[in-house]
Amino acid sequence: MFPFTYTKAADTRAAVAAGQRGGRFIAGGTTLVDLMRETVERPDTVVDISGLPLGEITTTRSGGVRIGALVRMSDAAADRRVRNTFPVISQALELSASAQLRNMATIGGNIMQRTRCTYFRDVSAACNKRAPGSGCAALEGFNRSHAILGGSSQCVATHPSDVAVAFAALEASVHLLGPDGERGVPFTEFLLRPGNTPEREHALRPGELITAVEIPAHPRPLRSGYLKVRDRQSYEFALTSAAVALHLGGGVVRAAKVAAGGVGTVPWKLTAVEQRLLGERPSDRLWTAAAAVAADDAEPLAHNEFKVELLKRTVERQLRVVGGTR
């Protein structure tokens, strides 16, 4: 670990100011610290934000849910409003990491977590994300866990978060506080695809602090759920995952919110699948037909070809679980 200075932010303004001076926020510390130990991250200053008043879950006036950036994953998952309105969020959280980690880790830290690409996490390997211009060892290396969607010639690392997949599906937004005040960014624009700048991973400007994630009220109540496919039953990142939220009414699909994880360089909103579902009569045939377009843009690598089929089947399964068998 490289030596660093530790400070504790007294309030959000001070945190933003410290961030502007190059300080790195630390919340639960469950992933920043291990990256620092591996010397992947080498911040000069670490700004502890865990004492800031960002730990509330509130219902917005329009009926959405606002989850403070410092809410622990376990608390967010257990919250009655979240559980009742958006079970997909609770499920995604409860299928993440381990109980111990969820008790420490925060929602803000979760969506900011960095890729699990082992070449990124091994400082002796080439990685454009960690060391821009050094190359991408994963492209021709072992890439079973890598992205089939949204990659570039510079980077094919997946975004590992589960709950971010639910947030993408539900069209959440991220609330930010910066030197120039507050602003909101749609979740699907918050995390960035690698393109030619894989080191740029999110829309935060210098000093900006995530204060909350807001899930908007949806005009029609949604049934929702999260499916995570992985080699072992617990404590592993997704090979593929699907967040599905549907409203069925009058015998047809009236609302469809679908996103996939484990397959994209960012949580992957499956707009084509959603389009395919809207206005159609729910049936096993529909689930299959809609899921069939999930991987249309996939560009698989040497070891993750199987994800193309697995993604379709994951989406199909979860459409059926949420939408029912007919």
């Binding site: 490289f2 010397t39 290396g141 072992r232 617990s234 090979l239």
Partner: protein
């Protein structure tokens, strides 16, 4: 049957005792290697090669040395030359061991190339990341299937080629096994301290004497007695501690150069490069039988990885030539030198690989013939071990199969693949037999009866988890006629009587027999003292008629006539009585000795997503006498968990371009977690007591319990899905 005329009542042996060191462990008081508090200790952190092969062209240590608290950076350019005297009788495989910092050659990715020594761990870690090593890299050889192989070891009986050609039923199968790592919870660690020319090592090891003590003495060219090794607790090892790895020498070298005791703990990542592994294999098998399933021919071609500098082999050929009656067998086992570090035994060594092939093939043959897999095995039960011609010391495989079938409900199964569905899951059952060629080797133990009537027994063995600390006092207590609470057992110090490696399922058989011998002798010494003592109530009694219960010697048929050890020693003003006991197997064995078992499992496979989930598992074991059923269950269930890992998850992945292990951490190298482990159950055959094997009648349990687990799962996956998977681990992509 037994040589002891005055056989002691067996009260502790066979009872389910809890671990005597359990409280120490769960309260954090057990001192593992890195936990010892050694005054003045400095910290060593190794720098590892980042190329898979080549030469070191430069080591820039300036930035590291500039850090506050850094004492030294050692590498091949400045390290003292070491004699590296040969160490015959060790576990070092043939070849030339890796000589740390003795030349500029890089033989595998992750090889230690430098060590930083500093006053604090943090300073050492940071400085290690500042050492810049440059290389002239060469492309490493990492592909087991294409690299040239060594001359194979061969075994043959009969004419396997002709018999195969003539066989009415033929199978031709190719299996692959990935490399596996032991991943014990405790990382390997060493603290090294020199006082003059005497070296003390607190080390994580499965063999204090032959492993660490002798190896470090030969590396430094000093007498064995000049090295003392202390290792009272081992936090799991599964084989990784069976030899001293380069980091032990690095710690000792760093201590020598800096004049400070040095503590060196491998990181989790370094364990993947630094401590050996179960080698990757390819295993091709041709099996021929008649139409009733009687085996006629078996032809096996085996390739296994080893390092470029040492030739590691293990007993992988065993199951393929001794398990089932087969008149014609031909085997070839070739090692393939690759640019990797040297493999080492891992739980169920050789057998966990070889028996997997045999047991999967038997299942394939059973299906081919439409015969029940258990029945097929019964039809091929051998009379003797056909590979040695020797009778089995005991072989109760039939009973294992019958008991297992009954307890598992095997015969309720519909043999047709894909015949059972539970929602999205296809459900299947599978079974496999298990076998392990347990070891036995000369061992000694020291037993002492104290004046207060308690006893202390010592041997230089280890307890990496099986419960040696608990099982040895059980044997000792019965032989001494004491209760377990009055017997203390100590281990893990090279000053204690020598024992064989703590592996290969030989500790209970070998050390346990030595403990029993020592305790028998010291008990007899006490009895002799009593019967010759005119003041003793036992005066002039035939020593063979005296037994000891709860520390009191008395005439067998007259419990009123006797006295305690304490009374005897007190009256005779004896501080203690002591004896060194020993046991060793005969030079030429008259028996083929194996532990056996049968594993049954039920799995569910998600038909569309390719996920395999184990639903229940039963193991039935013929392991001789069970000293402690509670510890036995820990072993058996742990073995099943390890087997589930081998079957479904464990896979060390190498990047062929530079030999880098890409999943050298516990987030990416998957071992089973609780959620993967269903209802597991172990049964030990009644009345086990193999007196042909050793005086305490045990056959060893720790290894056989992983054997066959992966095969049972693989066979169950076939039953569930109709798909034969011949590569471990079984992945989702293989089943999509």
């Amino acid at each position: 049957m037994t040589r002891q005329p005055n056989r002691q009542p067996q009260k502790a042996v066979g009872t389910p005792q809890s671990r005597v060191d359990g409280r120490l462990k769960v309260t954090g008081q057990a001192t593992y290697a890195a936990d010892h508090d050694v005054t003045g200790v400095a910290y060593g952190v190794m720098v590892d090669a980042t190329v898979g092969r080549g030469r070191i062209t430069g080591v820039d240590t300036r930035a590291a040395l500039d850090q506050p608290g850094v004492r030294a950076v050692l590498h091949h350019g400045n390290a003292p030359r070491l004699p590296y005297v040969d160490n015959p009788g060790s576990n070092n495989p043939p070849g030339e061991r890796l000589r740390v910092f003795q030349d500029d050659r890089v033989r595998f990715f992750g090889q230690p190339v430098a060590v930083v020594v500093a006053d604090t761990l943090e300073a050492a870690q940071h400085a290690a990341s500042l050492v810049t090593v440059t290389y002239a890299a060469e492309p490493p050889s990492t592909d087991l299937t294409t690299a040239p192989a060594d001359e194979p070891q061969r075994y043959a009986r009969g004419d396997a080629e002709a018999a195969w050609a003539a066989a009415p039923v033929k199978l031709d199968l190719a299996f692959r096994f990935s490399r596996n790592h032991h991943n014990p919870m405790e990382p390997h660690a060493t603290i090294a301290r020199w006082e003059g020319d005497t070296l003390t090592l607190w080390d994580k090891t499965q063999w204090v004497v032959g492993g660490t003590q002798q190896e470090l003495a030969s590396v430094f060219g000093i007498p064995q007695q000049s090295v003392r090794v202390i290792s009272p607790f081992v936090g799991g090892a599964f084989g990784s501690g069976l030899r001293a790895w380069p980091h032990v020498t690095v710690a000792a070298l760093a201590a020598r150069v800096t004049g400070r005791p040095v503590k060196l703990v491998l990181s989790r990542r370094q364990l993947y490069f630094g401590t050996g592994h179960r080698p990757a294999y390819t295993y091709a098998l041709k099996l021929g039988s008649d139409r009733r399933g009687r085996l006629a021919a078996s032809i096996q071609d085996i390739r296994a990885e080893t390092s470029s500098y040492e030739t590691f082999t293990e007993a992988v050929m065993g199951p393929g030539h001794m398990m089932y009656r087969t008149p014609n067998v031909r085997q070839a086992y070739a090692t393939v030198p690759l640019d990797v570090n040297t493999p080492i035994w891992m739980r169920g060594p050789g057998y966990a690989t070889g028996a997997h092939v045999v047991e999967c093939a038997m299942d394939e043959l059973a299906h081919e013939l439409g015969v029940d897999p258990i029945e097929l095995r019964l039809r091929n039960e051998p009379e003797t071990d056909e590979s040695s011609g020797l009778p089995f010391s005991s072989r109760r495989l039939r009973e294992c199969l019958a008991t297992g079938a009954r307890e598992f409900g095997w015969h309720r199964r519909n043999p047709a693949p894909r015949s059972t569905r539970d929602g999205d899951w296809l459900v299947g059952t599978g079974m496999a037999a298990a076998v392990y060629d347990f070891g036995r080797a000369p061992a000694q133990a020291h037993a002492r009866i104290n004046a207060d009537g308690t006893a202390l027994v010592q041997a230089a063995t280890s307890d990496m988890g099986p419960g040696t600390y608990t099982s040895m006092p059980q044997v000792a207590a019965d032989a001494l006629g004491l209760t377990m609470t009055t017997v203390e057992f100590r281990l893990g110090d090279s000053l204690m009587p020598p024992t064989p490696p703590h592996g290969g399922s030989m500790t209970m058989a070998s050390v346990g027999s030595a403990v029993q011998d020592a305790c028998d002798k010291v008990r007899r010494q006490a009895i002799t003292l009593a019967v010759n003592d005119a003041r003793s109530p036992l005066h002039r009694v035939n020593p063979d008629d005296v037994v000891v219960r709860d520390g009191r010697m008395h005439v067998k048929n007259d419990p009123t006539r006797g006295e305690t050890y304490r009374q005897l020693l007190g009256r005779n003003q004896r501080d203690h009585l002591e004896v060194i006991g020993s046991w060793g197997p005969p030079e030429q064995s008259r028996y083929s000795m194996h532990a056996f078992g049968a594993v049954f499992t039920e799995v569910a496979v998600d038909d569309r997503l390719g996920l395999v989930r184990v639903r229940r598992m039963l193991g039935v074991y013929d392991a001789g006498r069970i000293i402690n059923p509670k510890l036995a269950d820990s072993q058996a269930l742990g073995g099943m968990v390890g087997g589930i890992g081998q079957a479904l998850l464990e896979h060390t992945v190498t990047d062929a371009r530079d030999g880098r292990i890409v999943n050298a951490n516990l987030a990416d190298y998957l071992v089973p977690v609780n959620a993967d482990i269903p209802d597991l159950r172990a049964i030990y055959l009644d009345g086990g007591n193999d007196q042909n094997a050793d005086p305490i009648g045990v056959k060893g349990l720790g290894e056989v319990v992983i054997v066959g687990v992966a095969a049972a799962i693989t066979n169950a996956v076939f039953h569930a899905t109709g798909r034969r998977i011949r590569e471990l681990p079984i992945t989702a992509e293989a089943l999509l």
